[in-house]
């Protein structure tokens, strides 16, 4: 009797090209942020700069578990640039936004990655932590009411789990069995506050029990583990199984924002994570050791990413700032333009 060997199962059920696509998005996130740092130092990024260095796997792997073709929607947090890229945000759009240009997605009204595009399935966050859980509860409540097989995903940090909005939004979504996945990105710090001063709980996923929903903790620096755990929650939500809380363990290697000197960190902590638990390094090892991806293949992706970011930078630098008086447009649907106050030339008051 002849024995046929089945081909090796691809990790997480993903094809080889999908596995390389995950690498592409992680590399794009890192390279784009490195470019933003250069522009920030040239004062071309006019506001604060928020990095996700060392956290690229959790944003990319989780967003990759959504199905854009079915209209899934996510709401990223400040360190989830990678999730927006997966949903279709372009490097140029991110650069225009950070550089406060007139043709940025927010028309210069908002900072950093506080931007959204409903058509591509991402909704911009606000700075008040936890609020987006409630908003995404309503987005996904609508999916449920309309019987659409769509899923929502919302990111919060470890700090946001202490807020009232997180609790109210999550509880509302759980009671309504909304098709929502809530990702708690536990990177160890909320600004300078370590997790031990944020909560007495040993695992943030344990909070799920209080809402009657499943809670899972996973390795946030293993992109395939992130994908798998999120995919399972997404599938459950799509089938009517309600909300899942996922805690992704990771580490914030840069400060809260670029200005933060991280003086509050124990000596050697960043270096240890960088050397031993970098999500890109880990994934490269996995791809080359187990899947036989060659260095040339990865270099080709790196080159493609660098070319895309270079071209986007050239375009962004040539883009104009918004016209000042555009500030008065679009507060309301009606009236479409707010009046100038009387002391400013051109007012009608």
């Amino acid at each position: 009797m002849a024995i046929t060997l089945s081909p090796p199962t691809a990790p997480a059920g993903l094809t080889r090209s999908q596995l390389l696509e995950l690498y592409y998005y992680m590399r794009l996130t890192r390279t784009l942020e490195e470019r933003l740092v250069a522009l920030y130092r040239q004062t071309k990024v006019v506001g604060g700069l928020f990095r996700s260095l060392g956290q690229e796997a959790d944003a990319v792997g989780s967003a990759y578990a959504l199905d854009r073709s079915r209209g899934d929607i996510l709401s990223p947090l400040i360190r989830n640039l990678g999730s927006m890229l997966v949903q279709g945000a372009q490097p140029l759009e991110i650069l225009l936004q950070y550089m406060a240009k007139g043709d940025s997605l927010s028309r210069g009204r908002e900072l950093n990655i506080h931007i959204g595009d409903l058509d591509r399935g991402f909704i911009g966050q606000i700075s008040h932590l936890g609020d987006m859980v409630a908003v995404m509860a309503g987005v996904t409540l609508t999916f449920k009411l309309r019987k659409e097989p769509r899923v929502g995903l919302v990111y919060v940090g470890d700090g946001a789990t202490s807020t009232g909005a997180f609790h109210e939004g999550l509880n509302f979504a759980a009671v309504q069995r909304c098709p929502l996945v809530v990702i708690v990105e536990n990177n160890g710090y909320a600004y300078s506050t370590p997790i031990a001063r944020q909560t007495a709980a040993t695992r943030l996923a344990d909070k799920a029990g209080g809402y009657g929903i499943p809670g899972i903790t996973a390795d946030g620096n293993d992109v395939l583990a992130v994908y798998e755990v999120t995919k399972e929650a997404v599938d459950r939500a799509r089938e009517g199984g309600g909300v899942t809380l996922i805690e992704l363990m990771t580490y914030r290697r840069k400060g809260h924002a670029e200005h933060d000197d991280q003086s509050y960190l124990p000596a050697g902590e960043i270096e240890r994570w960088a050397a031993e638990n970098d999500p890109l390094d880990r994934y490269v090892d996995r791809l080359t050791d187990i899947l036989g991806v060659t260095a040339d293949e990865l270099d080709a992706i790196n080159d493609r990413v660098r070319g895309e970011v270079d071209r986007a930078t050239d375009l962004a630098e040539r883009s104009a700032p918004p016209a000042a008086a555009d500030a008065l447009i679009g507060v309301y649907a009606d009236p479409p333009v707010m009046p100038l106050q009387w002391y400013r030339e051109g007012s009608d008051g």
Binding site: T142, A165, G169, W342
Partner: protein
């Protein structure tokens, strides 16, 4: 068609809009099975089902945020605050998220937050508030304060159809105390247009909500006892304010008194007075005055509440002062 109360008029408006547009749905605490603390939503659950009349957990931030998310997706949610005092629990998400969604993110946010406000009912500090001034300062929101049953219905229908977020402050003192026959047909009252509640030539009282009724009462006394013809302008909408309506009445009578039940300092009267100064100063024959609540939390005991809130006699006295100036 017989007369309906202010409360029944609101219910009629809700039912008509829910029948007209399947995207309209209600959410709030105890609004379904129980029909709401004041029974505004009574009968809606059996009529429209649990998907469109949603009983929520006690979580004003949670359901206001959820309403915003639903509004982004094309729904037209109507949130009920059980008492409007609890809207402050959702202050952050209303002012930071709901009010800015269109400006920052070009996200449509057509939603209404409605509920009973106001005093004169011995409700004490947390069941009597008038929170309009706290939101008057927030670009991106609209604020409606109806005084009559017909306006309560017509303005609510306009608020539900509006593409911007609207705070709809009902007055619980009026819920069952005023009644009138509803206009026939699809009765919609546009936002942002004041209403002359009483014509006059000697003095203008500019007011809204329960203040309209107190002012009309005062106007009758002033006509009877002083021979004064007092005009009463019902603002109806505080955001946007009807500058044209305000200017018109001030130019007509040259004297203006602003009346509201909310506390004086930082209240809506200050904004109206600033606009009168800017737009019609030359037409004034007297300083613009205001009658408002004293600057204290609203106390419970009748003797205390009646002392703090503006009464008809206060409006009469201030009007006499203005008329003589």
């Amino acid at each position: 068609m017989g007369e309906v109360t202010y409360l029944e008029a609101i219910r009629e408006g809700l039912i008509e809009e829910m029948e007209r547009d399947s995207n309209v749905f209600c959410l709030g605490e105890d609004i379904g099975v129980y029909g709401g603390a004041f029974k505004v939503t009574e009968g809606l659950l059996s009529r429209f089902g649990a998907d469109r009349v949603i009983d929520t957990p006690v979580s004003e931030t949670g359901f206001v945020g959820a309403a915003a998310g639903a509004a982004h997706m094309g729904m037209r949610p109507v949130c009920e605050m059980q008492f409007i005092d609890f809207i402050s629990c959702a202050y952050s998400i209303l002012t930071n998220y709901v009010a800015t969604a269109r400006y920052r993110s070009f996200l449509p946010c057509p939603m209404v937050v409605r509920g009973p406000s106001g005093g004169y009912v011995r409700g004490g500090p947390f069941h009597s508030q008038n929170p309009e001034a706290a939101f008057l300062h927030t670009p991106g929101l609209k604020i409606v304060c109806p005084a009559t049953p017909a306006d309560a219905k017509g303005l609510l229908k306009a608020a539900i159809r509006d593409d911007d977020p609207v705070l709809f402050f009902e007055h619980k003192y009026l819920y069952r105390r005023v009644r009138e026959t509803m206009p026939t047909g699809d009765h919609v009252v546009p936002l942002g247009k004041a209403r002359v509640a009483r014509e006059g030539r000697d003095l203008s009282i500019i007011t809204y909500a329960a203040g309209v009724w107190k002012s009309l009462e005062a106007a009758q006394i002033l006509e009877r006892e002083d021979g004064l013809a007092v005009e009463v302008l019902d603002l109806r909408t505080l955001l946007p304010l009807d500058d044209d309506g305000i200017v018109m009445t001030v130019k007509k009578t040259n004297r203006a008194l602003i009346v509201h039940e909310d506390t004086a300092t930082g209240g809506a009267a200050g904004e109206v007075i600033a606009r009168v100064n800017q737009l019609a100063f030359e037409w004034l024959d007297a300083p613009v005055r205001r009658v408002a609540a004293h600057d204290v939390p609203l106390p419970y005991a009748p003797a205390l509440e009646d002392f703090v809130l503006p009464q008809t006699s206060d409006i009469v006295a201030a009007s006499r002062w203005l008329a003589k100036y």
